[in-house]
């Protein structure tokens, strides 16, 4: 029965699943959904966590099963892979724009700041007013993948999606 759907169609259906913490982008735009394949009559969906301890992974797994059950695919296996390790570079430009519009400063297009050990923070644009006059309040924000900043011009605090 599940063979009546192509991988492309499955991808399209799964693109309706939002990230539980950041509902403006879906799991494909975020780069969490890696692969869909059929093994015998089972639909295998491969996902990768943003952070190893990300509590949203279990919710995403359940969402995938529910979504596929809705279209009649009962035999679903969700596999978790760590390699290649998730990176913020997988977030598409459109998704970055959606993040910004949602009030989260998107990650820069460069992974792993080498200066990280020296504790240097980077210049960030405020997602509200666009000012670069911002400062970091804390490297750890409302979720594992975000840091907390504030804009010194419009005074708004905002989340920054950390580069990984």
């Amino acid at each position: 029965m599940s063979k009546t759907y192509s991988q492309e169609q499955i991808f399209k259906i799964l693109s309706e699943i939002p990230d539980p913490e950041i509902p403006v982008i879906n799991i494909i735009e975020l780069g969490i959904l890696r692969e869909v394949k059929f093994v015998n009559d089972e639909c295998v969906v491969v996902i990768t966590p943003t952070y190893t301890g990300c509590p949203a992974m279990k919710v995403i797994e359940d969402d995938i099963k529910i979504k596929l059950k809705e279209i009649g695919i009962e035999k679903v296996k969700v596999e978790l892979v760590f390699s290649p390790a998730w990176t913020t570079d997988w977030i598409s430009d459109e998704a970055k724009e959606k993040l910004r519009a949602y009030g989260i400063a998107p990650p820069d297009h460069s992974s792993q700041d080498k200066k990280v050990l020296l504790g240097k923070a980077r210049d960030l644009k405020c997602p509200q007013c666009g000012s670069k006059n911002t400062e970091m309040i804390s490297q750890f924000g409302s979720t594992a993948c975000k840091a907390l900043y504030r804009c010194l011009d419009c005074k708004e605090p905002f989340d920054y999606f950390k580069c990984l």
Partner: protein
């Protein structure tokens, strides 16, 4: 000892250290000195527990006796735990926690850097992922090292006390035994002497820049690799494992 047995043992050492330090950090929830720091400590705790989940899940597969990550975390007693002694030490004051995290994070940072090139694909994949996370943790704790060390007389003294108290637990991080020897030969894990050189260099640099002193401790406490722990681990496990053991197989 077979390679498989050595690998299981090594994964417990890594996984247990992450789990126990993650649990210790989680005790800060609602007690952090400021809200942002409370959130930071719990984020870091979450990373460590997540990391432990991956390592212990893999340990269970390697062992092949049907134990999953939960069975390994909740149904083993003290003597079966292989976490480094430093990870089970109580939080103390905030400076003490920072000292513990700094010494441990620096160790994990250099250890995972080496494990990235492990010939075991799963260990390598977990190391790549964890190294990215630990980089953020280390940056955070290093900043506090400077702030406290080069801060007020009070903050300097408290951090120095923390370092002095914990220093005797650092040498066992670099002890190697049969498990290491077998896995080094297979290209699965690094020689810890290599990690030690990087660790010492970095720790000495930061301590000097933070105007602190390297503690002079002659006594070195060891034992975690044989499951000999300080008295603190038993109490920690009692709290961590209570619900799981009181309600076996419970789900929600």
């Amino acid at each position: 000892m077979t390679v498989q047995e050595a690998k299981f043992e090594y994964l417990l050492r890594l996984g247990d250290s992450s789990l126990i330090i993650g649990h210790r950090l989680s005790e800060w929830c609602g007690h952090g000195p400021i809200l942002e720091e409370d959130i930071a400590l719990i984020n870091i705790a979450l990373d460590f527990v997540g990391n432990a989940t991956s390592l212990l899940a893999y340990a269970g597969q390697v062992e092949g006796k049907g134990r999953d990550e939960d069975a390994l975390a909740y149904l083993r007693d003290e003597r079966e735990y292989r976490n480094l002694l430093i990870t089970e030490q109580p939080n103390g004051d905030f400076a003490n926690t920072i000292a513990r995290q700094f010494l441990f994070d620096t160790y994990m940072y250099f250890l995972y850097e080496e494990l990235k090139s492990s010939k075991d694909e799963t260990i390598s994949a977990i190391a790549v992922k964890s190294h990215k996370e630990i980089t953020y943790h280390l940056r955070h704790t290093t900043e506090w090292m400077y702030r406290f060390g080069d801060g007020t007389v009070e903050s300097h003294e408290r951090l120095q006390n923390g370092l002095n108290d914990l220093w005797m637990y650092t040498s066992e991080m670099f002890d190697m035994d049969e498990v290491d020897a077998i896995l080094i030969k297979e290209g699965i894990v690094p020689d810890l002497n290599k990690v030690k050189v990087s660790w010492e260099k970095r720790v000495h640099e930061v301590i000097a820049e933070a105007t602190l002193q390297i503690p002079v401790t002659v006594f070195k406490q060891k034992g975690s690799k044989e499951g000999k722990h300080s008295e603190h681990l038993g109490f920690l496990l009692a709290e961590m494992q209570y619900v799981h053991r009181a309600h076996p197989g419970a789900k929600w």
